[in-house]
C-alpha cells in the first residue's frame, strides 16, 4: 500500500473525442502504419493527476524571430509569403493561453531541410521551415512564412502530399497534447492522400483545412490563412477522484 495517504482530489476531466475524430493507428492505405500500430487493444487510462496536468512551456522556449520564418536568415526565402494565424481553443470554445505552438514545414519547392529528404527539389538557403510562438490571452497565434510546396513520397504510385504545415500544441493537460497538420483550401491532392484521409469523419477532416482570410491579407505583401486548433474540452463538472482501486 502506498505510504502517501489517500485523499479525495477534485480533478478536472477531459471529454474523450467521438469515434472518427482521430485516425486509427492501423490505417493500411498509409503503408508506414503496418509495422508501427499496436496490435493489442489499448488499455483505458483513467484521468488522474498525471493526465490532467501537463507541461507549462513558456517564453523561455521562444527566440525573437521564431514566429517569422521569412526573417531567420540574411535574405528572404523564395516563395509566396503567407500569414498563418488562428486561435488555440479547447472544446468549450475557451482560449488556451500562453501556450507553446511549434510548426515545421517544407519550403516553397516542397523540400524539407532534413538529411533524409532526398527529393531533388531545391533547398532554400534562406529557409529553415521551423517556427515557434506563444498564444496570447485570447489564445491567438500567428506566423509569417512561405507557402510550402507539395512533394512526392513513396507510399503508392504517383503519390504526392498535399501542401501542409505541421503543428504541435500542448494545451494545459497531458490529455490535450496534439500534433496535427494544417492544409490549404481546395487542394487538388486531398483525394489521393492517405494521411489526410486517414481521419474517418469527413467533418473532422475539414477541420484540418485552413480558411483563406482576405481580411488579414497584407496589401502588396502576403496572403493570409486562418487555422483554429481545437483541443478536447473539459467535462461539464469536475468529478471526485476517490482513488477507488
Amino acid at each position: 500500500m502506498s505510504r502517501v495517504s489517500r485523499q479525495a482530489l477534485r480533478l478536472p476531466a477531459y471529454r474523450r473525442d467521438p469515434e472518427g475524430t482521430h485516425p486509427p493507428l492501423d490505417s493500411p492505405a498509409y503503408r508506414s502504419t503496418a509495422l508501427r500500430h499496436p496490435k493489442r487493444p489499448l488499455v483505458l487510462l483513467p484521468q488522474r493527476l498525471t493526465e490532467v496536468t501537463g507541461p507549462l512551456l513558456g517564453p523561455g522556449r521562444i527566440g525573437p524571430q521564431d514566429n517569422d520564418l521569412t526573417r531567420q536568415h540574411e535574405d528572404e526565402p523564395v516563395g509566396q509569403r503567407i500569414l498563418v494565424h488562428g486561435r488555440l481553443l479547447d472544446g468549450d470554445g475557451g482560449p488556451v493561453r500562453n501556450s507553446l505552438v511549434e510548426i515545421w514545414q517544407a519550403n516553397a519547392a516542397g523540400r524539407y531541410r532534413h538529411i533524409g529528404d532526398r527529393w531533388p527539389a531545391p533547398l532554400d538557403p534562406n529557409f529553415d521551415g521551423v517556427g515557434r510562438t506563444l498564444t496570447d490571452d485570447e489564445g491567438r497565434y500567428e506566423f509569417l512564412t512561405v507557402k510550402p510546396g507539395a512533394y512526392p513520397w513513396g507510399n503508392h504510385d504517383n503519390a504526392w502530399r498535399p501542401a501542409h504545415i505541421h503543428f504541435s500544441v500542448f494545451g494545459s493537460a497531458f490529455t490535450q497534447r496534439l500534433v496535427t497538420q494544417m492544409y490549404f483550401p481546395d487542394d487538388p491532392l486531398f483525394d489521393q492522400d492517405p494521411i489526410f484521409n486517414s481521419v474517418p469523419d469527413p467533418k473532422a477532416r475539414e477541420r484540418m483545412i485552413s480558411r483563406f482570410d482576405l481580411s488579414r491579407t497584407v496589401e502588396s505583401w502576403a496572403l493570409a490563412f486562418e487555422f483554429d486548433i481545437v483541443l478536447r474540452g473539459r467535462e461539464a463538472s469536475v468529478f471526485e477522484d476517490e482513488e477507488d482501486e
Binding site: L9, L11, T33, L45, E102, W104, D128, V230
Partner: protein, 179 residues
C-alpha cells in the same frame, strides 16, 4: 458549447527539424545524486529500430507534485517535469531526470508519449520502477493491465539509471493506453 476537436496527424519522417530542443532530454538540469538516465530503444513490428521517433515524458517531482494549477494540492514551481528526445539512427533515446514520488493512491510513474512516422496519433505508455513492487500491487492503472503484460511497463535497472524499451508491435509489445 462543444466544438469538434482538430484531428491528429503523423509527425512525418522529418519531425526532427521542428520538435527537438537542445535541453529537451534534460528534465532536470542539475546533476544531483538522485539524477537518473532513462534510456531505451523504440522498435517496430519487425524488431527494427525506429530512427524517426520522438519520445516525450511527463512526471511529478521527487515529492509526487506537479508544477501545474490543476494539481489540487497546490502547484509547486520549479520542476519542468517534461522531457523530449528524438531517437537516433539506432532507435535509441535518453532522458535525464529524477525518480518521481508516489501520487495519492498510485505508484511512482512517468507518462510517455511516442510520436513517429507511421503513427497517426501518438501512442501513450507509462514507466514504472522495479523498486516499488509493493506499491505496484495496489496501483489502479497496473491493475487494469493484463498480468502477463505488466512487465512491459517496468523499467530495468542499469548503471546510472534504467532501461525502458518501447516495442510498437509484435512480441513483447508495450502496453499502450487510451487517454
Amino acid at each position: 458549447m462543444n466544438l469538434g476537436s482538430t484531428p491528429s496527424q503523423t509527425v512525418g519522417p522529418f519531425l526532427s527539424i521542428g520538435l527537438p530542443w537542445t535541453d529537451g532530454p534534460a528534465v532536470t538540469a542539475d546533476e544531483g545524486a538522485d539524477t537518473v538516465w532513462i534510456k531505451g530503444v523504440v522498435s517496430d513490428g519487425a524488431g527494427e529500430p525506429v530512427p524517426d521517433a520522438l519520445v516525450e515524458t511527463w512526471q511529478a517531482d521527487r515529492d509526487g507534485r506537479f508544477d501545474h494549477p490543476d494539481d489540487p494540492r497546490g502547484a509547486v514551481p520549479g520542476f519542468r517535469g517534461f522531457g523530449r528526445c528524438p531517437t537516433e539512427p539506432d532507435g535509441s533515446y535518453a532522458i535525464r531526470t529524477v525518480l518521481p514520488g508516489a501520487l495519492p493512491g498510485q505508484a511512482p510513474h512517468i507518462d510517455v508519449s511516442v510520436f513517429a512516422r507511421g503513427l497517426l496519433q501518438r501512442v501513450v505508455t507509462r514507466i514504472y520502477f522495479p523498486e516499488h513492487a509493493e506499491q505496484h500491487r495496489t496501483d489502479p492503472v497496473l491493475a487494469a493491465v493484463p498480468a502477463g503484460r505488466r512487465d512491459t511497463l517496468i523499467a530495468v535497472p542499469t548503471a546510472g539509471g534504467y532501461r525502458f524499451d518501447v516495442r510498437l508491435q509484435g512480441e513483447g509489445e508495450t502496453v499502450f493506453f487510451d487517454v
